[in-house]
Subunit: 402 residues, 4 copies
């Protein structure tokens, strides 16, 4: 028996689809003394983050910030605009959509769940069709996951909006962007979303612990009549405090320092560049997967996720064995298959603060892990990804030189 | 116009009754890469903190850890054991007891609030009397704040327990220890508390962002039938995950690193030493207040808080003006008077990771701030505190030498 | 036997005359990945700090930065402008002047040491007199310590310059500002200093590990002919690299990040405000000492140091016993008496990143330590310091309001 | 014009042959308040690091620690055992051997330089032959670079020792291990080295700023008579202070915290595992280089370095253009060719705290950079490295399972 030095030296490769690696600049921003959350210095911070976070959601309206991880913001979204007994239409994009549906049940709502095979994003046609049937407008809200973290499929939010409008249905539109915000383009206002749910630990590059509700005027109006009991999640409690840069109870002070830094970093890079970077890494990953001869879980190319890629392992092999061997041998964490995908897929996270060489390093880990685990595959995945990325770099260099 | 250098150089004196100064060791423990919250390394951490936190609450039962600030744990306590329409008996120790009562209303409960003048802890006799009247046992829970952060009064929890028992009443006993845990002795099991609520940002010396429910078997049993809608706060969701060292949704990873370090630090110092240190600093502070000729808000010496001291300013003077001047001139934050105490008191926090010289430095800031603000007082407060502390140090030295 | 909790909780009071407490902002700036010291990003940093450090020395000429602690910069100053056998005139201000003299001997120089009682700064008259005697200009350099860290006496550098000029003597003028730079006003160019020696760990608020030589054209010219063997300390090696923002060998990368931040902080506060702050804290400290009835070592008020105050303990008492007891009881480090002052004085550092309440906290530690140690003194030192500082704060507030 | 996001997001790949990436644990250990360097807590640290560093050098004798970067320890080694006019025999392994020789000249020594083509380590035969000629023992020291950082060639130190012994020559043996210590096996005592020079910023995984002299009794004896002027570097000054855990002048306090952590980390991994890891990464790198069809600078396989690999670019191409393009496109720093190798080689550092996936990520950057720069090469370098590393991992797994 001996220890394998390769496992402990160097930096862990955290290639799960979130939490994502936190940049040093953000960790250091958080590594600072706590401020008096009722004092003037905190107030300046509070005003700044409450204002600046809007740009990330592409909204001019309010964004509420909770000192709680993302599941809390799901609950906040439902609890603020709905009442026990309300019908909601949800789309089964995968594990997380299912969890959100289960939460709705726990909160006393009556979710209707449009089934799917976990290999696409939400289908606007199906949603539109159901809404058109709902002549009495009993459905109070449509809930869709933008990027389904369990499958790597993206729902076409603008098209869902259009389907709701085309059906002439007044339902509120709630969207979960936990694993897409600041990774995949999203427009809260332009796409007519009423409540956008998000969290700190993915594209925002922070540790878990903050979550968000971006809201529309229609959502705020609906919240006046929503009867789900709540206080911690209550927007009504937040508003008068937020208006002064404060919060109704103790906020996540140090995570807010980090958020302040994260927004600066996103703006310095430019959101469009951030999205392009995610697109590039996703495409490189998919090229590797195809070169290995493995199948991408998402079966609709238009729905491919730029945050993560879920990869199917051949019948007779267990993705979790592969993940365990890869972790053991190469100190890399990959995402597991969830519930009905257990053992059948592994997920490669390529979101957050990362770059070409890190993604390629991760892909070498996958390729070697496949080899170690005896999963049938062809070599050449990393080579395919390199070929793509060097081409992209050449284009960049050409554009920069012009 | 000029800048006052004294205001920006050096270390801020954070003398509010929480959040408290976070020790470097804890901040550095948190300043580390995020782990895969479903991986084996996280699992070891999860198991360790879930086990070790029990010692701080002095319980052998479960403690639930929320990735949310303290108000969330209030909501969790109520939501897990009560149903809309349930009667709860609460005691008006001050601002925070009032907020908790208001939360109960928002959650659809029917709180009965035993009024008080905000100058004492809860009164066991009054609680016992009310319970004895409740022949039909309509009151489902008694809710008491252990250390009322707005007033600096401590409720005699063991005596309240006895009052409930003496009344032969089956109500659950819920206690808020947000500003007492790890500062003032508390015994979850021995005192028969059913749900103890707490938070990370006071005696635990962490930034805000984690909160706790320590529970009894009776509380767990009650939770099976509680009908308040919830998911994020649900103990039932937590249990199967916690049993494996995990959490049902993304936990506050980096705050858990800090919690792990904080528990180590408390154990290294020894909880009894921690309490004795808080007692000593509280007594030093009160001696200063008396020497200044000012009045301590808490009018029952047995209820004096070791976490903070609320000090009344004479009629005709505004405590917030004094606080603002002190912040401006000496870079020290003091606690404000809340709601009906606005302008009438200021609060000196002396809890968390601190020591004699820091407390004395803070008291010099108060004494000079009183002078600057023209608040009538006698000199000699700092001298009185020094006389006490040097005596304590002499005793320590004598004991150490024996 | 038991542990004394007061000793381990809270923040250590580091009241030695350097190293000084490093602000969080500087520690965090240093807590960053190492850069390629031959790459473009480092080059920008190198250029910036090499340029910006000049303002702190008040020079337009070069400042050399060594990746070595302060004693190294002493050696660099001597080795770059002198040759074995050269005579140098040094003034015995105290322990550090003596060490520098001993170094000169080790380097093969022939120091002449003007004796003194370690209770004043250097005396321009004595230096001028000696130089006038030196008709053949055998003395090649005059070496003076600006702030003698062992005694708390400041030498009048401008007056020494004038004495050299009045004597019509061509000797180089070398000044040690290790414990005065960025604490006590200093003008390298205006005062005609040829080599100013300094270090990172005092007024610059950094950990130890960087040191400096600010030079004049005359010193650079002299360096062409200096024969003391050296390479690491050689200015000649530095110049071509520094001109491009680089260094001739591996620089202290992370300390340079800290230096970059430190210069920003000094400029944000304003050097004049920094000096005024140090003056204020020194005066507060002296008032405390006088109120205690103890004697300040420095016997010439014009030579009082704003960086530290050395305090004499009465005959029959040992300052180091007092220091040990104070450290044990109150977790505060004070400076020891060095060589011939051993046991006779203790030194209170009041330089670097500090503020009124920290200084007052430190003075409470001294007053209580005197009490604990049985050193005869009157109470009231802290009170005297507070009376002074509150007056200063009132003046500040008045000026700010105008 | 646009910015290339790939350049700024994610973690920089620092693949120069030192300074190396500093692990978070070490950076955090250094990110702590400065201690009183004359107090008891520092003393415990001083004693610990002075003792524990010996194991890294594999010596039972003294190791001196300088608060200065590595070039200083070169100077210390020469200055402590030699006197102006002394002859020293040095071997021209490359740029750094040449710099050390130039330093010897500056210090007044008379180096004799055995020429070489910069493509091998030192040759014991040549050294032995020259020593045998030196009948009068005029040569006072033999100086060899263990790992020549400019070329990636390792000198056979034990064989050089044998050559000296076989020649019956009394010269001291001085070895530079700046880029080999804690990366490539080294035995100060067993190999009869008299002074081993090293630095903090390579295998020790620290930022630059500390350097070392491990010494033999023979070296200590020699130091009594060495006449090179010095104080900062003087062992004699160090000894009495080190014996108590202290230093004769202000030490690099925070770097010592880091050193303490670094030694712990090396011991936790096990030095043999550390060396095996370096060997593995070096071999993987060489396989990539060969697959690309490029030439390794080191022409003697027995002299291959496990710290770095210098790679020759074909005639007509400039290695620095390639490096600049690679830095620009992929945010990776590679080592430059020095002096006579300028433009002809680039160096890949694979030492310090790293792991398989990071090394492979770096190799993808090299392979893509070659492509971008139009340097003729074959694809498949990364694939060759992966093939090797997966085989190694399979062996590890097999051994672990047994």
């Amino acid at each position: 028996m001996r220890t394998n030095a390769a496992r402990v030296a160097g930096r862990h490769f955290l290639q799960i689809p979130g939490p994502t690696p936190v940049p040093d600049r953000i960790l250091r921003a958080m590594d600072m003394p706590v401020l008096d959350h009722r004092g003037p210095e905190f107030q300046r911070l509070g005003r700044r983050v409450l204002e600046n976070i809007k740009g990330v959601f592409k909204t001019k309206n309010r964004v509420f910030i909770y000192p709680a991880s993302g599941t809390g913001a799901w609950e906040a979204a439902l609890a603020n605009v709905l009442s026990p007994g309300d019908k909601v239409l949800m789309f089964e994009t995968g594990h997380f959509a299912t969890l959100w549906k289960n939460m709705a049940i726990k909160l006393g709502l009556e979710p209707e769940f449009i089934a799917s095979d976990w290999r696409t994003g939400a289908e606007p046609e199906a949603i539109g069709a159901r809404l058109r049937e709902d002549k009495n407008h009993e459905i109070k809200a449509v809930c869709v996951v933008h990027n389904e973290t369990s499958t790597g499929c993206v729902s076409p939010i603008a098209a869902v909006r259009k389907a709701i409008d085309d059906a002439g249905h007044p339902a509120l539109f709630l969207v979960d962007t936990i694993s897409s915000l600041a990774s995949i383009d999203f427009h809260h206002d332009e796409w007519g979303v009423d409540v956008t749910v998000s969290g700190s630990q993915k594209g925002l590059m922070l540790p878990p612990g903050l979550s968000f509700n971006a809201v529309s005027d229609k959502a705020l109006a609906a919240s006046k009549n929503a009867k789900t009991p709540k206080l911690f999640w209550s927007w009504e409690e937040m508003i008068p405090h937020n208006d002064k840069g404060f919060f109704p109870y103790t906020p996540g002070t140090n995570l807010l320092y980090g958020l302040d830094a994260a927004i600066d970093m996103l703006n310095e890079e430019g959101l469009d560049n951030v999205f392009a970077r995610h697109d590039r890494h996703a495409e490189a990953t998919r090229r590797a997967v195809r070169a290995w001869g493995l199948e991408i879980l998402c079966r609709v190319p238009e729905h491919y996720s730029s945050s993560l890629t879920a990869v199917m392992v051949p019948e007779g092999f267990n993705a979790d064995d592969f993940r365990a061997k890869t972790l053991e041998a190469f100190d890399m964490s990959l995402g597991t298959g969830l519930t009905k995908l257990t053992g059948k897929v592994f997920r490669i996270g390529h979101l957050g603060d990362t770059n070409d060489l890190t993604i390629l390093g991760a892909l070498t880990g996958v390729e070697m892990g496949l080899e170690l685990s005896g999963i049938p595959h062809r070599k050449g995945g990393v080579q395919a990804a390199m070929d793509f990325l060097v081409g992209q770099a050449r284009n960049e260099a050409r554009i920069a030189a012009e």
